[in-house]
Amino acid sequence: MCSVGFRGARFAGTSWGNYSSVAFLELTNVWQEYPDQVVLERLNLMLEAGEFCVVVGASGCGKSTFLRLLLGEERPSRGRVILDGKPLRDEPDAARGVVFQRYSVFPHLTALANVLVALEFKQAPLTARLFGRTRYAATKRAQAMLEAVGLGAAAARYPCELSGGMQQRLALAQALIAEPRVLLLDEPFGALDPGSRADMHVLVRDLWRRHGLTVVMVTHDLKEGFSLGTRLLVFDKVRHDPQAPNAYGSRVTYDLKLRTNPLTPMTHANRAAALRLASIVPGHAAPG
């Protein structure tokens, strides 16, 4: 794994123990409005490198819009987003990695080729294919990455021959080998059964810790948020107009620092906050 270097890794040492004041991802007064509705309003947010930020909220609260915004698929109608000191590009690029709930891997490539293709994109602009010695080196890196997510034995299989959990592992491996500065997870475990979901939690937490990743994860599972994140954001509407339900957008209603180190359990205060939150956010069970 030593061969896989991560740009995010340089923050790893400083980010957990004491939150430094350097904002890695900064949203200033961001609005997302459509002709007939306001989805997000007055979003002000500072994320630090190495944070594992989980975004929860009821469906339709704009958490997916928030992720598309970070991904560059949508441009904010107002405000600005800064990533690592530079304005965020308004189209997806290699600075942001992503794992979706579905369709995250290429069905026409084997598991190994799915990871390899990321290196081929980077190293062969014209042919998008590697040959000879460079291909050999890249294949070794890809295979190491597959092994890191526990797919070493499935390298030659096509995604449709893999289970849902294995496909998501593959998607993670693929995203990580491209060394993104921030990893975006869009309900990545939503379609998995509880068993594989628990396995994935262990894997994601482990990868995050080892590579010093900065993660933004959107989920509708509050419990998942509490057990994985270092920080929890709840999106909800503050203002309501019964006559025009779309007139106002969501804001961050809760911003909880859950833990500074992924291995420490939640503090007593946080657990209390979690329980309180669970009673407020509809449709969520209290975290264990």
Binding site: L71, E73, E91, P92, D93, A94, R96, G97, V98, F100, R102, Y103, S104, V105, F106, P107, H108, L109, V117, A118, E120, F121, K122, P125, L126, T127, A128, R129, Y158, P159, C160, E161, A171, Q174, A175, A178, P180
Partner: protein, 273 residues
């Protein structure tokens, strides 16, 4: 008594049930042919099997008295050359254009209506234009087939490319891919299985246009031959030719299907689920 909808043939009976219609048609032909020949031994409508074998020997095995060539093979080669060339050209244009229209919103917005319009023109209606513009030679037949099937292939590929989940295109970009790289490594491989199935469907109309064009102006070719001997009511040549054309068409289709299953294993694996 079970309902008819639940009656399934036994495994052994499957082949017999499939063959039965062919055998019945054959018997019907033999009976009808016999009846007509009894009335008039010179009847040309439904020749006896002996006449077929004589005709096949004449066109396929013995060299033609006038040209010294074995006609069936010369005709087959000429037709397949036109067909192959036209299919290859249509595949390349259809694939390139379809990928561009499906993947690039700018190209789709500006060219999709044109392609849709062109695909509505009945190709045979512009055959006279082709004869005027490019002459009566090989080119006009190839162009006719191309005009007939390229728009269909293009629209099929365009449709397939539009069906590629947006997530995959975004994912490729987050892995650092450029538009060109996405076309090459994501769009193209996903469009290829559809190209083969579009070609298999296109072959039906391609044969139609080929035979029509050969019937009107050619010096060799399967379509040319059957329309030529029509003047002599030579059913003993026409019927074997028709069967031969069918066999060749079936064989091309089978080969394409085989190639597709071998080359795009991921596609067929995915379909099983």
């Amino acid at each position: 008594m079970r309902k008819l909808i639940n009656w399934r043939p036994a495994k052994g009976a499957l082949a017999a049930l499939g063959c039965a219609p062919f055998v019945l048609v054959l018997i019907a032909y033999m009976v009808a042919s016999q009846a007509r020949l009894e009335v008039n031994p010179n009847d040309k409508m439904l020749p006896a099997f002996a006449s077929f074998s004589a005709a096949i020997t004449r066109v396929a095995i013995e060299p033609d008295r006038r040209t010294g060539e074995r006609l069936l093979w010369v005709d087959t080669a000429a037709s397949l050359r036109r067909l192959g060339l036209a299919i290859a050209i249509s595949a390349v244009i259809g694939l390139t254009l379809g990928m561009a229209l499906g993947a690039l919103p700018i190209a789709g917005a500006s060219l999709s209506p044109l392609v849709a319009g062109v695909s509505l023109i009945p190709p045979l209606a512009i055959l006279p234009i082709l004869f005027i513009v490019v002459g009566l030679g090989e080119l006009s037949k190839v162009v006719l087939i191309c005009i007939g099937i390229t728009p269909v292939i293009t629209r099929d590929i365009e449709q397939r490319v539009r069906e590629i989940p947006r997530e995959l295109i975004v994912k490729a970009q987050t892995l650092g891919a450029s538009t060109w790289q996405i076309m090459l490594r994501v769009v193209l491989p996903q469009a290829l299985p559809r190209l083969v199935s579009a070609l298999r469907l296109g072959l039906c109309s391609a044969w139609l246009f080929l035979i029509a064009a050969e019937a009107i102006a050619a010096e060799s070719g399967l379509g040319y031959r059957i329309f030529l001997v029509r003047r002599y009511l030579a059913m003993d040549v026409i019927l074997p030719y028709v069967l031969w054309i069918t066999a060749v068409a079936y064989l091309t289709d089978y080969v394409l299907g085989w190639i597709s299953r071998r080359a795009f294993r991921w596609h067929f694996l995915g379909q099983l689920q």
